[in-house]
Assembly symmetry: none
Homo-oligomer: 401 residues x 2
């Protein structure tokens, strides 16, 4: 029995409310000058109070040493082991833009590319054209219909786009046209099984038409497609956990992923404060809310230690609103570390607090990577966060007699 | 390779003796007035001495956040992952009463229930009749023979009983008659595959006969059956670990489970002291003994913080006898937490000590949930307790050349 099956067996409704504050990229590494991480450098009285009253620990997002992309990181927090619940490359990009992928759609990841007259790829990324240019090119390609199949083309960023095949009799089992290196010709897309024959044929026709349309748009005079896939069919968290669950996020990828696992997405404004106002507004209607904060991760990826620290302080102030709502369970954590000193996502474990009247209080005097190491939750894989939250919210029955 | 296969490969006899004191429901939560758990409140000089001399840690019985029933909790301590070694509902109840289930028996869990003239279930629990009344009704139903199959009916507690089908050509793959809610008719039992056809037929005949027998015994005028299953075929610990292993327990469920995994059950009296006297008596004959204490869990489930604390102190005094026997390895631990403040089993991790001349001494000055968090064993899944004990008893060879 896997952990999701177990959850489905033993979860049961309870009136206890839960708010999870997921601060993207929260974990960090010390500033060489001060020896303190971003979180250790920030003044965070609200988080410190929760760390004192709650149980703390450190989570490995995927496995020790594995740096998560944004999708697997959040998937783990939602309780889905990212090594078992995989998402095709095309579907990943579609979710990343929060495109409303239908169950029968086939989606591929596309690159604008440069080819020469001999059909040899000179640059798989078309000189890294800007998103603005790519948006215009996508409009040229969007809306074709080939043998009754509609083709939807949407920009992602820079030279990247997605193409969605919508119609009857399609299947995802086709090869890539992208040979993944320069100096080769684009490959003909081949069906990998009989049901995928129509998809391969239409994809090849689409590429031929695109080549004509793009002929005068050097360096973006060709497209390369890969990762043909469908919307993954993941179990719904609403059904597994029997909770009315919502998420607040400004990040399209997060919104796409959350809806994929059966979480309702609430409308919110672009600022930090907007998200907390949204939380206050919808709090009465749900018994489980994820509040996702993207800005801290962005500052980390920009390598801006000071801005990341300051943003953590702003989030801490807004956390006061969550404490005032007084839900039965408050969780503060993250999907992965983004040390400003690395300006990248990293594998370092992330700190977590679970504060409820059923937590064994750790009485830590500060919320940080180093203090959480001494917390009662110990170090654990992120897929156990949901079982732990559900337990503290008294939403789980006993396993076995 | 799973951990049991690994154990079977590398375990080898050694003269080192092991005593494991399994204090059911030992882990707790703080009393809101004192901020101390039951274990922290108890005076436990013997446990404290072992915690000073041994290695300590905290165990997750099943997975983080999962509250174990008594069966899975002990199964994990015996080294069997309860998510992989599952037990059918009928078999679980039979083990719970320590019924001597044979390998070919089929057993179902039964409820006495109330139906009206239209065959609609008014109460799935027959007004929660007492065990005494149920015992009399079980006698009325016990001992029938249908098509050469003998039916054995035994009370469990309150309105619960088991029915054992003993004979040729039986199989467990049949549906339940219990629809699991009031207001519906009992379901006809259906075979889920060809080998189970005879079982379904006999079960339906038995229910029809039981209905006639119970006709005048309102509110218990019907039976509902579910969870048809066989005695699980678990590997024997004697064979896996190559040890002569015994258990002492007053709790029928524990005795049933221990014999299921190849542990010999020693006769003992009902008191705490009786169990330790039994240990002293049989100690020379075995090289591995589990001593199981039920009373601490019962006090926790009763929500009696003071009694639980006092019982821990009594166990600590009797632990002096174990220390005097001076086995090579002494282990003190538990199958799960039962905080008196919750009056329920809980998911909170449980403290553990392993004291042997090969333990890295943690020099903790008290045995408790919070001190064990700083112990050298760290936080680990309970299925690794047996490997750790076997290692400290020098009963495990090296893995790999």
């Amino acid at each position: 029995m896997n952990i999701l099956e177990l959850m489905e067996n033993i979860s049961a409704p309870s009136p206890v409310k839960v708010i999870v504050l997921a601060i993207d990229g929260l974990g960090g590494l010390p500033d060489p000058d001060t020896g303190k991480t971003e979180l250790e450098s920030a003044r965070t009285p609200n988080m410190d109070r929760l760390a004192f009253e709650g149980s703390c620990g450190l989570m490995d997002p995927i496995r020790p040493g594995i740096t998560p992309g944004s999708l697997p990181g959040h998937l783990a927090i939602f309780g889905f082991d990212p090594l078992n619940y995989t998402i095709g490359r095309g579907a990943m990009e579609a979710i990343g833009t929060n495109f409303d992928l239908q169950a029968e759609d086939i989606v591929a990841r596309g690159n604008f590319a440069t080819i020469n007259k001999e059909n040899i790829i000179l640059d798989r990324r078309a000189g890294r054209i800007t998103t603005e240019i790519a948006m215009g090119l996508c409009q040229l390609l969007d809306g074709m219909e080939i043998e009754g199949v509609k083709l939807i083309v949407r920009p992602v960023n820079d030279y990247r786009f997605i193409v969605v095949f919508r119609g009857e009799g399609l299947a995802s089992g086709v090869s890539d046209s992208d040979p993944q290196q320069n100096g080769l010709a684009p490959r003909k897309i081949m069906p990998l099984n009989v049901p995928a024959e129509k998809t391969a044929k239409i994809a090849n026709k689409f590429i031929a038409k695109a080549r004509i349309v793009l002929n005068k748009h050097h360096p973006a005079n060709m497209i390369l497609l890969r990762g043909f896939s469908k919307r993954p069919q993941f179990p719904s968290m609403t059904e597994i956990y029997k909770i009315k669950i919502a998420a607040i996020s400004t990040f399209p990828m997060y919104r796409g992923l959350a809806s994929l696992v059966g979480i309702e997405i609430l409308d919110t404004g672009p600022s930090l404060e907007d998200e907390f106002v949204t939380l206050e507004k919808y709090y009465p209607d749900y018994n489980f809310v994820f509040l996702h904060i993207k800005q801290v991760d962005t500052a980390g990826e920009d390598g801006d230690f000071g801005r990341k620290t300051k943003l953590i302080e702003e989030v801490d102030q807004l956390l006061g609103k969550v404490i005032k709502l007084n839900p039965g369970v408050i969780v503060v954590t993250s999907d992965h570390s983004t040390p400003a000193t690395m300006a990248l996502h990293s594998w370092h474990p992330v700190p977590v607090i679970i504060r409820s009247k059923l937590s064994r209080a750790d009485k830590l005097n500060k919320f940080s990577e180093s203090t959480c190491l001494r917390g009662g939750l110990g170090k654990f894989p992120a897929i156990y966060l949901m079982p732990l939250i559900m337990a503290h919210a008294q939403k789980l029955g006993k396993f076995g007699a």
